[in-house]
């Protein structure tokens, strides 16, 4: 029975460690109210990715040009085969149009592989997107920022360059919370 006890303790220890780390701090998130802001810590790596061919942008997107420039940045992970992503991207297009003048930047990182990567740019334009759409064919940036490789997956970076929101999935029922959160992110109240 000693190996049983050691295994159980090992499992419990690992999970308690996670719980202890995750449970620190005072909750600042009201998911059903008007405040939608979580301090999730961390700074994103300053990645550079190529624009999706046939998409709304050209050239490369360099995150380093925006971080530390007092611009809030929204990073969206998506794929052409992901149906909830096709709901999330037009929604953020509306927010981008509303707050672009306040410095908001949005970049959508396609997780498509070589089979579907050529469809990413046209798919984004079809969704009415005008913000940057880039591809991550080798999944290097996806691995760093979205280790569970979820789609959709959204990250908000505030004007200091710190990540303040990470969220797997999207449904239109979330729009009020996200609208409020983005308004706070750009400093427009909410």
């Amino acid at each position: 029975m000693s190996k049983v006890r050691s295994l159980a303790l090992f499992v419990l220890g690992l999970s308690s460690f996670a719980a202890a780390l995750l449970g620190v701090g005072t909750p600042e998130v009201g998911l059903t109210g008007s405040v939608a802001r979580a301090l999730v810590g961390g700074h994103p790596p300053p990645f550079t990715l190529p624009a999706a061919v046939g998409g709304p942008s050209t050239g490369e997107f360099r995150l380093a040009e925006h971080l530390g420039q007092h611009r809030p940045v929204v990073i969206l992970f998506w794929a052409t085969w992901c149906v909830p992503c096709t709901q999330e991207m037009p929604f953020y297009q509306g927010l981008y149009a509303r707050y672009r003048d306040r410095g908001l930047r949005v970049v959508a990182i396609s997780m498509d592989d070589a089979r579907t990567v050529m469809r990413a740019g046209p798919a984004a334009r079809r969704l009415g997107v005008t913000y940057d759409v880039v591809t991550d064919l080798d999944t290097r940036v996806t691995t760093q920022l979205n280790p569970r490789r979820s789609a959709p997956f959204s990250i908000w970076v505030d004007r200091t360059g710190a990540i303040t929101w990470e969220r797997e999935g999207f449904a239109s029922a979330e729009q009020r919370v996200i609208e409020s959160g983005i308004a706070q992110l750009v400093g427009a109240g909410g």
Partner: protein
């Protein structure tokens, strides 16, 4: 696993208590600013994603009783320190099944007892980025060109997540780009589909690329790439083909992504492959090649994409009949539908495809029409047009959501027809002739979303009807499912689903189906609830059944056993 032994009952209870505690402890995942100043790293922030998965798997109805009715706990930490220019990542995987508490397998049946506990660091990377330079030591992802020559990336559908463990140096200037990689192939620790621990072969890989952007107003990129793979010995024989000793690839690519003021994008890539193979170091060699080209015309509302592929005896793997998805190191574009059809002979195909997209901008409606046609031959050394002719036509109709409306709705509708016709008289199936049907798939999918305020519903239906020729003649089967998902704001998502499948039931599930499920037959009900404590922290509960069957991606297929049981997953982030 033997059941009902009293001395295991207490132990199981202890592990079960640990599972419950592990999943229930963290009420919220809200952290303070986790920044610190470290030597070398400078101003550094710490981040972590924790995934705790408790699972109970019932009978999967195959011949093996050692992987039935067990609980397990999997804990994964994705940890990162992000400094000014340095980043350190490590993933820690831990897995413990309750079968660990069972008596050892009888001699001769060890392979059936594949569930084992595991605790290992994985995906360790130290990365330095400074202006145009990037240096990585540890695990890195790698794709050469369009993944034809080499692809170390994740394929979620098959549970493949292979990295290259070694060193990577990259220079990315305005006009010149270069990369060098050297290391060993490093698949993830555990197969997420059957939960077995993946055996690592330590295949050695070196690769390099050199690219240039021609100066001028119109961007044109040229690239050269090369790779060499030395395959480790296969300790277990029994494969039809002798193992490869070495595969060498060299190729070039040219891309003009924005001709005609951005309206036209061209890409072409050509690769040559040399394979040294044979048992006991006999060292025979042969050659293959691959060509992929695409042209995309993008007008305001219209997009036309034309693709061509010509893959002849081109497979980057340990043998020409490699079936383990994580030991196939290339993923050439299949140009196929991103759906469930059985793809095969990815290294021996020739043909093309056309896709037409039209969007009624600025309105919400759009549609696409797709047609692909190509020949394939599962014998890599034969001409692709001497095997099977594949044709696939599918169309989509999409209405995206418009958020200015009080009632938000969207539609995604797909309808397709796919046929495979024999181009030769099949040797193994006498009585059938060239020109006859080999496979047919008719598929459809509808997704509707309705939302208002904090409430939304997602309704999904998919179905496909397939006919396939096998040794007993033509066989038909149907696979599909439906689900309804309700979402309340950010916190709550609940899904009720029902899937159906009569695919391969007699072969995948080799034991009596008498007691399989309470709906009987081929129905697989499930319920899933996800509750988010905050945007980064969620608890997911799945209970029910999913059908087994064959899934394919990138030319590789796997047979997945049916699942019945409970899955509880907690995800938290710092």
């Amino acid at each position: 696993m033997r059941r009902g032994r009293p001395r295991n009952a207490l132990a199981r209870a202890a592990v079960a208590a640990a599972l419950v505690l592990a999943s229930a402890l963290p009420p919220r995942a809200v952290a303070q600013d986790l920044s610190l100043d470290l030597p070398v790293f400078g101003h550094t922030t710490f981040s972590m994603t924790s995934t705790t998965t408790a699972r109970y798997r019932g009978d999967n109805y195959d011949f093996n009783t050692h992987d039935d009715r067990f609980g397990s706990l999997a804990q994964r930490f994705d940890l990162a320190l992000q400094g000014d220019e340095l980043r350190l990542e490590v993933r820690i995987d831990a897995f413990v099944p309750t079968t660990y508490l069972a008596d050892p397998c009888a001699p001769g049946t060890e392979s059936l007892c594949y569930l084992a506990w595991d605790l290992r660091p994985e995906r360790m990377t130290l990365r330095w980025e400074h202006e145009n330079w990037l240096v990585e030591a540890g695990d890195s992802q790698l794709v050469l060109g369009r993944s034809i020559a080499l692809a170390f990336r994740k394929v979620d559908l098959l549970g493949v997540d292979t990295a290259l463990r070694g060193a990577h140096v990259r220079y990315q200037g305005q006009y010149v780009r270069a990369r060098l990689h050297a290391g060993v192939a490093n698949p993830q620790n555990q197969d997420p589909i059957d939960l077995s621990i993946i055996r690592e072969f330590s295949d050695v890989v070196t690769a390099g690329t050199l690219g240039a952007t021609l100066p001028g107003e119109t961007r044109i990129d040229l690239g050269l790439h090369a790779a060499n793979l030395w395959f480790a010995d296969e300790p277990i024989g029994g494969f039809a083909q002798p193992p490869n000793r070495m595969v060498s690839i060299a190729g070039w690519s040219a891309e003009a992504p924005a001709l005609l003021d951005g309206r036209l994008a061209l890409y072409v890539e050509n690769d040559a492959l040399r394979r040294v193979w044979g048992a006991q170091g006999s060292g025979e060699q042969e050659f293959g090649r691959a060509t992929y080209a695409s042209a995309q015309l993008s007008l305001d509302e219209l997009t036309v994409l034309v693709e061509w592929k010509d893959y002849d005896n081109f497979l980057v793997a340990g043998s020409t009949d490699e079936s383990r998805a994580w030991r196939i190191y290339g993923a050439a574009p299949s140009i196929e539908y991103e759906g469930p059809q059985r793809l095969r002979a990815i290294g021996n195909q020739r043909g093309g495809g056309v896709r037409v997209d039209y969007a009624f901008l600025p309105g919400p409606w759009s549609f696409s029409i797709n047609e692909v046609a190509y020949g394939l031959n599962e014998e890599l050394r034969e001409d692709p047009w001497s095997g099977v002719l594949v044709s696939h036509t599918w169309a989509t109709l999409v209405r995206r959501q418009e958020y200015a409306e009080s009632l938000i709705w969207s539609l995604n509708f797909v309808l397709g027809w796919r046929e495979e016709v024999l181009l030769h008289d099949p040797v193994l199936m006498p009585g059938h002739r060239a020109g006859e049907l080999d496979r047919r798939m008719i598929h459809g999918q509808v997704e509707v979303t309705l939302g208002s305020g904090d409430h939304s519903f997602d309704i999904h239906v998919d179905h496909r009807h397939e006919t396939q020729l096998d040794f007993s003649g033509y066989r038909q089967f149907q696979v599909g499912g439906t689900s309804v998902t309700y979402t309340f704001g950010v916190p709550l998502t609940a899904t009720v689903g029902l899937r159906w499948s009569d695919y391969n039931l007699g072969e995948v599930t080799q034991r009596s189906m008498r007691d399989y499920n309470f709906l009987g037959g081929n129905m697989y009900p499930s319920v899933e609830v996800r509750y988010s404590f905050d945007p980064g922290t969620s608890l997911r509960l799945f209970a029910g059944q999913t059908p087994g069957g064959q899934i394919c991606s990138g030319g590789v297929c796997r047979v997945v056993p049916p699942f019945e049981g409970v899955l509880l997953q907690f995800v938290g982030r710092l």
